[in-house]
Symmetry: C2
Subunit: 348 residues, 2 copies
Amino acid sequence: MFFDDRKKRILSAIVETYIRTGEPVGSKTLSEFPGISVSPATVRNEMAALFEMGLLEQPHTSAGRVPSHLGYRAYIDSLMRAKPLTEDEKDGIDALFNIGDPDPDKLLADCAEALAEYTGCATIAMTTTPSYVTVEHIDIVPADATTVVLLVIASNGVVKSKVCRLGFRVNTGIADFFRKFANDRFCGHTLKEITAEFMNSVSIQLGEYSGVFNPLIVGIYELCKEVYDGQYYLGGREKLLTYNEYSDRALEIMKLISKRDELGPVIGNNPSGVTVFIGKENSLSQLSGSSLLVARFSIGENDCGTIGLIGPVRMDYSRLIPHLEYFAEKLGTLLSITYQRKTGDENG
Amino acid sequence: MFFDDRKKRILSAIVETYIRTGEPVGSKTLSEFPGISVSPATVRNEMAALFEMGLLEQPHTSAGRVPSHLGYRAYIDSLMRAKPLTEDEKDGIDALFNIGDPDPDKLLADCAEALAEYTGCATIAMTTTPSYVTVEHIDIVPADATTVVLLVIASNGVVKSKVCRLGFRVNTGIADFFRKFANDRFCGHTLKEITAEFMNSVSIQLGEYSGVFNPLIVGIYELCKEVYDGQYYLGGREKLLTYNEYSDRALEIMKLISKRDELGPVIGNNPSGVTVFIGKENSLSQLSGSSLLVARFSIGENDCGTIGLIGPVRMDYSRLIPHLEYFAEKLGTLLSITYQRKTGDENG
DNA sequence: GTTGGCACTCGAAAGATATGAGTGCTAAAG
DNA sequence: CTTTAGCACTCATATCTTTCGAGTGCCAAC
């Protein structure tokens, strides 16, 4: 009753066949598998043992076997042979992102969409900003008579801008005054510190001018919050409809995925590399019928976000895990190019 | 066999009941309707007449009647009594958008989402830019050593910005040079004219500098294109899953809605006010089981976009049409405030 | 340890039956 | 001429029954 080699081959065969067909796998099918050259009866004995060990489940008495949650776990952790991406696949993905100077937000959104397309799963792409990131510089640029552009540059290299319409003419004197004021007040503060209360106290310091400058104060707050909160993009939620596992649960899951509050904490706290949550392993009970794959990506050394995949437990892990990994790497590389200034390259 | 008052009342009752229940409506149910005080047999005679006139359909011999496409049309065009929004509803919607100086893009996306929430339908919010809109001003603002912010201001008041990372240090001299160059070349041209070919010819004029400035040229192109193309936001596509009409077609419709190429032309060319396409009236055959409601919104006098609603043919037109109308108005008002500068208010 | 044989289980598919809402038609009443 | 009750008829839906077969567990033989 050890977990010997033949048992491993049988478990692998069951997982792979079930993933492919979605039907419980029977002893006859397995006995015809290359690498399993024993009779159905022997396979049945082995299956009974694997069932005892908790690695298989039986939908009902007279059906074949299905991997249990532990069965998948054993398969993924030690039996599965990951299918690395072919060069063609890599080229295809590279080509998608082969655009100069991409907008980081758009990049992330596109990545979520592309990942969904490649994997047939719902995807999430999320960035997180470490709490030590500070405001490095604030700029205000008159665009036309009453319009200015606000810029917030964070210490991690992220730059966000917002167009502000003011109720009065803005000349360079006013712009210079506000620029100095804002930089004095905000530079060096972590983004985390820039709260609504903080903004209130700053506003008070503007005294009689607090009214007219309020749109700018609010604008700065919004930009800092935008940088600190990071992004949360979804892709391909409708892909779930293609799996009959979701025939009556698709709406619920799709709604859940949309909720950053719910999913953000779950996917945001994982080690580097690909982490897999199989069915009931998910902390969210609604995901007990789904598997969640997450991979972190980083800019240089700094971990900065997560991409994730949600699909039926019966998903092709051996293909999807390397894919997710590749997308995460790619994303990290591309963002690192965009945000490289911290590590030099200022010649020109 | 005229379309007399009683027939109208019966048709209205059928449409309204069917919209509410989703079940074919029978003569007995109708005879109990207030306002229809005749026996089921009489109702049957009338229904037979309405059927002859093409206003009703029969799912099968022994079922009740269902409004035909023409039946809905007659109902919407002349029988329906629109349910105006209550003050509470208006207040609720107003509250959603009660934010100072909103980002127009975000406003549109939020509007699509809110409209979906209020109506239970999938929504589209789209902007279009008239072909006479020109580039009014281009600005380039150094943000840090090698980063600049590009600004494109269009003659319709739209301002878009993009952060560009350059491979070299940018001083004010360089910025001033490029600003002048860009404004000389682009200002006054319509956005429509700013094509890839046009950009190429401009790039050539930069001679030996075309290489280093290429990111900026590309950036300007992207911004102009972004303004000219306008936005296309979707909301609540998953709402369709709540209707069993879509039980096996949801994926197809959801994919269709995502395709701007397909839907853009359909919803972009409509008169002002709310336009309704019922089922087969839609030019896209995939929408033959859906109704499409579109409403234009405008900034001041200038028509600038469309919001649309997609749901089952059996939708509550009397409620949704006024809602869509209100959202369109609201959106127009809010955008007009943002883009008001064309009509004055430059005091300060 | 492995295998063929065999009775047994149980879900899915196919067929049979019943139910009932709703119809069209007819003829009588208003 | 319009309205209505009566009635036979239709047909989708629901329920129940039957059949079918893939797959199992166990046993005895190899």
